[in-house]
């Protein structure tokens, strides 16, 4: 435990990681997460760990692969385009059952996008991101305090289930300053005990150990075993927060920074006598579907709010099915949600007026959603001048 102090999100995260026992960090500069490697370069060596500024994000995540193989609490951080580069290493980490922490301080995309905060990497984070059948545990903080305290939770979950864990933050969270406290004492990783799978130099007659990604004929058994672990995680590790969910008419669903704007909407609603609640997934994988389904039966409409074009809303729809109408208020490409607009959208959703919203409907052909907004932009980019 510490006293409350004013801290920048990225620095709280970096300090929280060292406090949580991280002793290897590799990264590559990219806005808006540069305070993380900068902090690590200043303090990791003093903590007895290693900091490497890698030649690329690909190298950085593979350095983490090597360090994690030794059982060291290892991590990397980056922002969206850099996390795309890391996907090669992440799928290898998943295949080799290596625990590690990956931080994505999201910015606008696709491509180089913008340096502003965004939530466009939800699919990439929650669906695996790289090749093959796998998941990473995804934690979504919504405050500087959670940014500072989630690295400990992240390492613990990663090690418990032997898989990578990702902290999915965004540029605003990373850059903003808030009063925060660490809710745990610094951890000495030397006192944590050793893994029976990690490569090491003190063998003392034990059989050799291998950390490997190529499974060949054993791949089916390997993936099946991992699927059982994933099932257990989905059953036991889903985390969420609720606000005013008892007796609400409209349930907002939002994570990360969007949930902060939704909190504002919930508070405004209470002042106006409107019944609006908030369901905030803290783990995005596993998505807290079970509780969301319970709540769906009690409300008239669900409004997903996200800083992306409609990614998290798919998990909302998968969770609640046809039980309740699901609407989407989307702020893609770095758009910033704002409480009053969200409250208006909640009222629209309640009245079934979907102008300005995406209305998710289940069609006979399968899961899809209709866009009620006027998108009559025409088709651009046709070739011209061909013969």
């Amino acid at each position: 435990m510490t006293q409350k102090t004013l801290r920048k999100g990225n620095e709280a995260l970096a300090e929280g990681a060292i406090r949580a026992g991280a002793r290897f960090f590799a990264g590559y500069p990219i806005t808006p997460q540069n305070e993380v490697p900068e902090f690590m370069s200043a303090y990791m060596a003093d903590a007895g760990g290693a900091f490497v500024q890698a030649e690329s994000e690909i190298a950085a995540i593979n350095m983490v692969y090597g360090a994690a193989s030794t059982g060291t609490r290892s991590m990397t951080s980056s922002s969206s385009p850099g996390v795309s580069l890391k996907q090669e290493g992440i799928t290898y980490l998943a295949s080799a059952d290596l625990p590690c922490l990956i931080v994505n301080v999201m910015r606008g995309g696709p491509g180089l996008g913008s340096i502003g905060g965004a939530q466009g990497d939800y699919f990439q984070a929650t669906r695996g991101g790289g090749n093959g059948d796998y998941h990473v545990i995804v934690l979504a903080p919504n405050s500087v305090e959670e940014l500072g305290n989630f690295p400990k939770l992240g390492f613990e979950l990663a090690e418990k289930y032997r898989m990578p864990c990702m902290i999915l933050a965004d540029g605003i969270l990373g850059q903003m300053m808030e009063s925060m406290a660490f809710n745990f004492d610094p951890i000495d990783p030397n006192k944590l005990g050793k893994f029976d799978w990690a490569v090491d130099i003190e063998k003392n007659g034990r059989p050799k150990r291998k950390v490997f990604s190529y499974k060949g004929d054993n791949l089916i058994a390997d993936v099946t075993e991992r699927a059982k672990r994933y099932g257990l995680i989905e059953k036991t590790e889903a985390r969420f927060e609720e606000r005013n969910t008892e007796d609400c008419d409209v349930l907002l669903v939002a994570y990360g920074l969007s949930s902060r704007a939704c909190l504002e909407a919930v508070n405004h609603a209470a002042e106006k006598g409107l019944k609006v609640g908030l369901f905030r997934p803290i783990t995005l994988w596993p998505f807290p579907s079970k509780r969301l389904l319970e709540l769906a039966g009690k409300v008239k409409a669900i409004l997903a709010v996200e800083q992306s074009l409609g990614q998290m809303v798919q998990d909302v729809k998968l969770a609640v099915g046809d039980k309740t109408p699901v609407y989407l208020k989307a702020y893609p490409a770095g758009g910033q949600p704002e409480g009053e607009a969200i409250l208006q959208a909640a009222q629209s959703a309640l009245s079934g007026k979907t102008e300005g919203l995406f209305d998710l409907q289940r069609h006979a052909e399968g899961f899809t959603y209709e866009c009620k907004r006027d998108l009559s932009l025409g088709v651009q980019g046709d070739r011209k001048g061909g013969k």
Binding site: F24, A59, Y65, G66, I201, K208
Partner: protein, 247 residues
């Protein structure tokens, strides 16, 4: 009874999967002998590549990590920085090291990571079936260079030792071959030195081994060894390109 020769203690008894005439097995054995002679077997952690040597993690008795194509030097960096007392090697082929992993090998040298890299150059992609490698010779036929490598289209072969020699952090670079008993003995000396350097903390050491690939060169072993001598060695001269180990 006197034992005249036996399997190095640093190797397992698993039969190797390499093709007849391939150089990989010879190099593995030389590494195992070096580990035994330097008495570092317990401390070694190896990184196996993607490619023909993907199963190298079965042949060494030490703990092994097998990672992504080209990333061996980055993985080795992570291991070495986390376990500074480990003797860490990255074993890589030419596509792995000189093409997809070019950034990783160059920057491991730039940082002078105290690791040992064993680089097998046989001028071809082996595991995938004979495609053109960055080290494929001009005119050499490959499945992706069916008319032979044409510099106008595919550029020229890359000489890694010569290139890395420009980097201050590269401390020991030697190119050897395993085509004759004499060359095998010289290769053994170089490999041993590259590991001895790491024990001494010298910094980045790499041994490039010109190796033969009879299968993908479509040659018998005798022809393959002839190809090594008459075609490979003029492009890739043997010798020491950097040796700052004594300093």
């Amino acid at each position: 009874m006197t034992i005249l020769a036996q399997r190095p203690k640093s190797m397992t008894d698993k039969p190797m999967h390499y093709c007849p005439g391939c150089g990989h097995g010879i190099v593995h054995r030389l590494m195992g002998e070096a580990f035994d002679e330097l008495k570092i077997g317990e401390r070694v952690i190896g990184v196996a590549p993607v490619g023909c040597a993907v199963f190298a993690d079965d042949y060494f008795a030490c703990d092994m990590v097998q990672g992504a194509h080209g990333r061996g030097p980055a993985i080795a960096t992570g291991i070495k920085r986390s376990k500074p007392n480990a003797i860490v090697f990255s074993y890589q082929g030419d596509g792995d090291l000189a093409s997809i992993g070019m950034a990783e090998i160059v920057h491991a040298a730039v940082r002078s990571e105290n690791i040992t890299v064993i680089f097998i150059n046989n001028a071809i992609y082996g595991m995938t079936g004979g495609q053109m490698a960055p080290t494929t010779l001009v005119g050499q036929v490959a499945t992706t260079a069916p008319k032979g490598r044409d510099p106008k289209l595919q550029g020229w072969p890359i000489n890694m030792c010569e290139m890395l020699a420009q980097i201050t952090g590269a401390k020991y670079l030697e190119r050897v071959a395993v085509d004759t008993p004499q060359h095998v003995m010289a290769a053994k000396k170089a490999i041993k030195k590259a590991f001895e350097n790491q024990v001494k903390g010298v910094g980045f050491s790499m041994v490039e081994v010109i190796s033969q690939c009879p299968t993908n060169w479509h040659a018998n072993v005798e022809q393959a060894l002839e190809f090594v001598r008459t075609k490979m060695m003029p492009q890739y001269p043997l010798g020491v390109f950097k040796d700052e180990g004594a300093n």
